[in-house]
Amino acid sequence: MLQVEDLHVSYGGIKALKGISIEVGPGEIVSLLGSNGAGKSTTVRAISGLVPIGSGEISFNGIRLKGMSPHKIQRLGLAHVPEGRKVFANLTVNENLLMGAYNNHDKSDILKLLFRFFSIFPALNDKRQQLAGTLSGGEQQMLAIGRAMMSKPKMLVMDEPSLGLAPLVVSDVFNVIKQIRTEGVTVLLIEQNANAALKISDYAFLLENGRLSLEGKGLELLNDPRVKSAYLGDTNYKAVFDN
């Protein structure tokens, strides 16, 4: 469904990605793991057209995305939940969701999508007319995911959805991701929380310093010591993790 081949991206001379190739099949949950600065965000930002591609190819359902602007990529059915949630703080909860369905002109369809969202997140139903900036972090994350789902995407790219959330809310977020997959939406997930991500992933890629260092099935990587060392940059990971 999504193919990334030998992707290179640089920011003003600094090479952020040095040849990344990943593939995401339809209906899968695929995780992109790695420590801070490994290039995870850059990879998905390049996929969504937010940063220009140096060299390499990205294609979505056979369509080349190179040079395409973000709004056109979204219209192909590739929605992006940005890092840090980025809800529109000065818009109401309802308006945030409508922003997600901006290009949908079928009013009854939009109502159906809103109804579905509020049936999954009833807590937000009472806050429909509240400004999104007043919501808690967890609520904002749910809103950001819901907003992306309002466009009825074929694939959802999520950048650090659990970042900065309380542990209980984090498990809610992962439950929602599993639920999204059951609706037939493919998910590309960026996570620092490697264990939680690997448990729900079909496949995962590990990034280190702008290169892929490891890939494999989610459950197989779960106990792979190399995943842990990639995060810690330290061979004494065992001492940290196992006590």
Binding site: P70, F88, A89, M99
Partner: protein
């Protein structure tokens, strides 16, 4: 000072204030979306004045057609300014855009000077806007009634567009986070063009009414009203549409009333606006209705 005189001055102040307000709304909308002070905005007043003038005098169009044409053409020029001057430097530091805006302003003024010439032209005021009503000892110019009515209606329309429509929702979202708006499948440049068109059309309405009040049109006629409208926008809280209208009214009233009370100061009329601006920037930089924005 008797009550009749005071009422009279307030009417004059409100009239000028509405014109500042109309212009200030355009400033504030563009600032809200792009964080850019579009210094060329005041010159759009001059553009619309000339378009209306040529429509009536050269092409002998009936005035409603000439005025509508002025609004449409000015709106279109607003879009052209954005596409030609600001869009190519959208990702550059904000100071580049600010300098570009000043450059566009000079370009428009001097283009008009070269193409049309610097001699002031008398604006043909349609019959409908001439004359005045007398209420007791107070003279109520017909034009003032028009200015107040048109400004009120336009302000309502703009507020309805911003708060009730899809594109207005996108404009509000864009004012905080352009990148995430593009992730919603929204063509950011189209929303920006719409903002420029809307703001420029308001400037055009302000422009034709301005030259019915001060009926001499020349290439630099937009400079002072433009600067004052900028002060009005800052006074009201830049980025806030209602604030811009209120700022315009306060500025217009202040100018007229201070001179009415102190006729000796009439030479300092324009200085009043800038004193107000300095005072606002020192005491309440966010203006009357403005809120702190994350930078």
């Amino acid at each position: 000072m008797d009550i009749g005189f005071a009422t009279q001055q307030i009417i004059y102040g409100l009239t000028v204030g509405c014109l500042y307000g109309l212009l200030a709304i355009g400033y504030t909308m563009v600032y809200g979306v792009l964080r850019l002070i579009n210094f060329a905005h005041g010159d759009l007043l001059m553009v619309s004045a000339y378009v209306a003038f040529f429509g009536i005098v050269i092409f002998s169009f009936p005035w409603p057609l000439a005025f509508a044409g002025a609004a449409l053409i000015t709106g279109f020029i607003g879009i052209l300014i954005d596409r030609g001057a600001y869009k190519p430097i959208r990702k550059s530091p904000r100071i580049s855009a600010l300098i570009t805006a000043i450059g566009v302003s000079f370009l428009l003024e001097n283009l008009a000077l070269v193409i049309i010439g610097g001699r002031p032209k008398p604006f043909p005021i349609p019959m409908l806007f001439e004359g005045s009503l007398s209420v007791g000892q107070v003279k109520l110019p017909i034009l003032s009634i028009w200015v107040l009515a048109v400004t009120t209606v336009l302000l309502m329309i703009v507020l309805a567009i911003i708060n009730k429509t899809r594109i207005g929702m996108a404009m509000r979202a864009l004012s905080r986070d352009m990148e995430t708006v593009s992730l919603m499948g929204i063509d950011v440049n189209r929303v920006i063009s719409f903002t420029f068109a809307l703001g420029s059309m308001l400037a055009a309405f302000g422009g034709v009414m301005w030259c019915m009040k001060y009926p001499a049109i020349e290439p630099f006629m937009g400079v002072i009203p433009g600067l004052k409208a900028f002060v009005a926008a800052v006074l009201g809280g830049i980025g806030n549409v209602t604030g811009a209208a209120i700022g315009g009214l306060i500025l217009g009233l202040a100018e007229v009333l201070i001179v009415a009370v102190q006729p000796d100061w009439s030479g300092y009329r324009d200085a009043i606006a800038f004193c107000i601006m300095i005072f606002i920037l020192l005491t309440r930089p966010t203006g009357i209705m403005g809120q702190k924005l994350p930078d």
